[in-house]
């Protein structure tokens, strides 16, 4: 099971977090174990935002350890601690993978048990073993001017129920790239070894983490989001519908046998990609006039939020 959702605003008056939260709450039957979201676009000081999970830290004061490690690599402009998470606005020399990898490694080395869940230009990632409305309220997500977001309601099938194994997964150390996934990629062990031989390091045994790194690696080599999600149809085996998000927008892909569901709804104000129609009905009302299509097996699509203007559909 598991349920995924993506929500992209076409105009500034759309509450992205509210729409995503409502859809994920409606998908609770598909994924009661945990909820996670990647939200993009809310303003913050500096050129980077880090989401750091301190809930399983083994020291008594992990916040000081985390911030000290970050200060060795850049300027800490603000830090907000809430329910085990540390949200840190940073000014880093650059957002190249090498830099972000060094920062993340330094933080986790300085504060045992702490995990850097994301670093990006505009990405804010939180995940927890709680329901979507609780997550949104706990972290004050509603009402912020996000441009787009992806989220996941998890039913754990192959790894334990905890925060670390919940989705979304950051494509560490690539800025802003995250993935939520419904299904099981069967050739990820083999592919993961190939990527490890090229120097990539993985944080969990979850196949979705591999999908994130695989896609981010393509993007880093100049492949467009459109082409990256299309290529995955042939290069990933197994059952999957996944959403990948960057700072500019998100893409979706579905395996050829359509083993996992995926609907796309669109109005003049927003685009929603979601596992089930019940999420659209509960989030937006069953009498709202929106066009719903099913992503076909073997189909991939991508959208850009268009810098706050009209979203651009990058693939059909």
């Amino acid at each position: 099971m598991c349920g995924i959702a993506g929500f992209l605003a076409k105009s500034n008056d759309v509450d992205v977090a509210a729409g995503l939260t409502a859809m994920l709450d409606a998908l609770r039957g598909r994924g009661p174990d945990s909820t996670g979201v990647s939200l993009y676009g809310a303003p913050h000081p500096g050129n980077a935002l880090a989401s750091v999970w301190c809930g399983e830290a083994r020291s008594s004061d992990p916040v000081d350890e985390v911030l000290a490690a970050m200060r060795a690599h850049g300027e800490v402009l603000s830090a907000d601690e809430r329910s085990g998470y540390l949200r840190v606005a940073l000014q880093l020399p650059d957002l190249e993978p090498n830099t972000l990898g060094l920062v993340a490694d330094a933080v986790e080395a300085a504060a045992p048990g702490v995990r850097v869940f994301s670093i990006g230009r505009s990405l804010e990632l939180v995940k927890h073993t709680s329901a979507a409305p609780v997550l949104a309220e706990t972290f004050g997500l509603l009402g912020k001017p996000y441009t787009h977001a992806v989220g996941h309601a998890r039913m754990a099938t192959e790894s334990i129920v905890d925060v670390n194994h919940s989705h979304p997964f950051w494509a560490r150390p690539f800025a802003d790239v995250t993935v939520v996934h419904n299904g099981h990629v069967t050739n990820y062990h083999k592919n993961r070894r190939l990527y490890e031989m090229r120097g990539h390091r993985f944080q969990t045994g979850n196949d979705t983490e591999f999908v994130a790194v695989y896609l981010a690696d393509k993007l880093a080599h100049g492949v467009s989001l459109d082409d990256a999600v299309r290529a995955s149809i042939d290069e990933l085996d197994g059952s999957f519908t996944y959403l990948v998000s960057t700072a500019e927008g998100f893409g979706v892909a579905r395996d050829r046998f359509s083993t996992k569901p995926c609907l796309i709804a669109e109005t003049d104000s927003w685009v929603a990609v979601v596992s089930e129609g019940i999420a659209l009905a509960e989030a937006f009302g069953d009498d709202v006039d929106f066009k719903v299509t099913e992503l076909a097996g073997g189909e991939a699509r991508a959208w850009s939020h268009g810098h706050g203007g009209e979203p651009e559909r990058m693939a059909a």
Partner: protein, 234 residues
């Protein structure tokens, strides 16, 4: 609830269990027709009902609508989710919009009509009855079909009819790939008349020209020592 009136059930703010209880109560009261408003894509509506009744869902329904039923006459004015009419034994379901994957899966009898497109695996492992898709259907439709007749007015995806038994598939558009152990041929005059009777009352028809797909039967009976037969069929 009067026996001579149409029973109207508003689904807003309610869970599936209580809606289905109201449907069963209306049938027991002898309502000639039941209208369910705002179904809101809820799953498992009208599941396991074994008495004849006429039910209209005004809007979208979720997974498994009409599943395991026997004798219902269902209409859905919107779209339907996965496993529409799965395992149903008799009756009819007509969907004005589209349906998700596994439409009519393992059904034993009755008729399912989807006027728009359907997802993958339509009529998979069917044991009887008829599924009519007005648009196109996805991959592996008719897979291991035992005795369901599947009519697709538009296009069919990959592995159409793969490893099927005694079911018969018809496609009015393009077949991406007929499955293993299939024969592709033209329907005869009786079959064309049957296809017209199934599609025209719903305003449907072939996108181009009807093609018939049935099992070649090579996988049915073979001696395990004849590995070459099995290898050739696959």
């Amino acid at each position: 609830m009067s026996a001579v009136e149409v029973a109207t059930i508003d689904s807003r703010g309610r869970d599936t269990r209580t809606i289905n209880q109201d449907i069963r109560r209306a049938i027991a009261d002898g309502a000639p027709a039941i209208e369910v408003l705002h179904p809101g894509s809820r799953h498992n509506l009208a599941v396991g009902i074994l008495e004849p009744a006429r039910i209209t869902f005004r809007g979208d329904v979720g997974y498994f609508c009409g599943g395991l039923s026997d004798g219902l006459e269902i209409r859905v004015t919107g779209d339907a989710g996965w496993s529409l009419g799965a395992d149903m034994m008799s009756g009819s379901i007509v969907v004005d919009g589209r349906s998700g994957s596994s439409t009519g899966a393992s059904m034993r009898g009755g008729t399912v009509v989807v006027k728009g497109d359907a997802g993958a695996r339509s009529a998979i492992a069917g044991k009887g009855g008829t599924v009519v898709i007005g648009g196109s259907t996805g991959a592996m439709s008719g897979f291991m079909d035992q005795r369901t007749t599947l009519v697709v007015c538009g296009n069919a995806g990959e592995a159409f009819g793969d490893s099927m038994y005694e079911g018969v598939l018809y496609c009015g558009g393009t077949i991406a790939d007929a499955g293993s152990d299939t024969l592709v041929e033209g329907p005869d005059a009786d079959e064309l008349a049957m296809l017209a009777s199934l599609t025209e009352p719903h305003g449907l028809g072939p996108a181009r020209e009807w093609t018939k797909v049935r099992s070649a039967g090579r996988l049915w009976h073979y001696d395990k020592r004849e590995f070459s037969v099995w290898k050739e069929a696959l």
